[in-house]
Amino acid sequence: MINKIVQSMADALAGIKDGSTVLIGGFGSVGQPDALIEALIEQGATNLTCVANNAGTGRVGLAKLMELGRVRKIICSFPRSANSVVFEELYKAGKIELEIVPQGTMAERMRAAGAGIPAFYTATAQGTLLARGKEEREFDGRLYIMERALRADVALIEAWEADRWGNLTYKDSGRNFNPVMAMAADTTIAQVQHIRELGELDPERVVTPGLYVQRVVQVDRGAPWV
């Protein structure tokens, strides 16, 4: 019997190695796997490359992981948010590496990794500072730059419902980066609000088929919770 549901946060995070690249889902607080991030702090892996839309806010979650010196590099589209104090301190002190990626390029680079595409061309960022060092090429009279796939060791994501095969549904704007990150990591770990019996999920509403998910853990409440 396939059963991807694990019973503890320790089991969910087991085996994440120092030096891993870790994708962290969510956009704002919606779809952000807060409980898994806390568990990663407990788990202890360090020298991490983290990929997330933002660079953490306040002094909790991803920001706390950074403050503890566990993040070597952050890849994100929007590091400067209302309360990104920890990142800004570390960045000014030269203690964290930053790769800024346009939001759509970030999503597409992970989708490409999941789809077996090592590189693709896009007009986004062509001619800007973020195209520095990237190959430029013309197709049909327009200039594009080449972007590489962004693959990871681990994805930490949040979903709404799961079954024991790892099938996932999302709620409202809770999809965001989560289904894309699930495709791009060797080990995808999902925190979910609800566990359903196999066959209970509407096949037409499953957004992430279970084959993209290695472990599922139920949390009493997500963020934001309902």
Partner: protein
Amino acid sequence: MPYSRAEMAARAAADIPEGWVVNLGIGMPTAIADHVPLEREVIFQSENGVIGMGPAPAPDAVNPWLINAGKQAITLRPGGSYVHHADSFAMIRGGHIDLCVLGGFEVAENGDLANWATSENDSAPAVGGAMDLGAGAKRLWVIMDHSTKDGRPKLVPECGYPLTALRAVTRVYTNLGVFDVTPRGFVVVDLAPGVTLEQAQAASAAKLHTST
């Protein structure tokens, strides 16, 4: 008298026809939606995967799972739907968004936009989806004050700040008027009531042409 921010938003809103799919940037652009009546069906897309955003919810009816790109609580209109981030940006980058409206630091007379970083040494500039929207939307409008707070013009012959998108802006809404970006450069579409061409030109570093 120059347009107020609300008047600028209303002026831009008036130019959006029914049926367009529109992405509004964070900040001043977001206010444009408030000036489009619900009966005029404009489909607002948010890059976090929401298609068909409706007005802000009543405070006691907030759905914590439903936000826009500015992280504000929103509603979904009947006919709305959800996609994930790669599908959302496929729409944006694939040319399926009729209009994007962004804020701006500078717009050049060739349509270049600078709106994400104020210098090459900016401590951690944040780009978000601006470069994707700039390169991908069918039309790119910018809504911004005509000058900076310390009086520097923002309509320029050439951008001094790092670029967001090249030759992308098609129209600019400022507190002084509305300006099309054309092969000739900036062309005045409208001036705010009581604002003269001379006043607008004096506040611009780039030449303002008239359509005649």
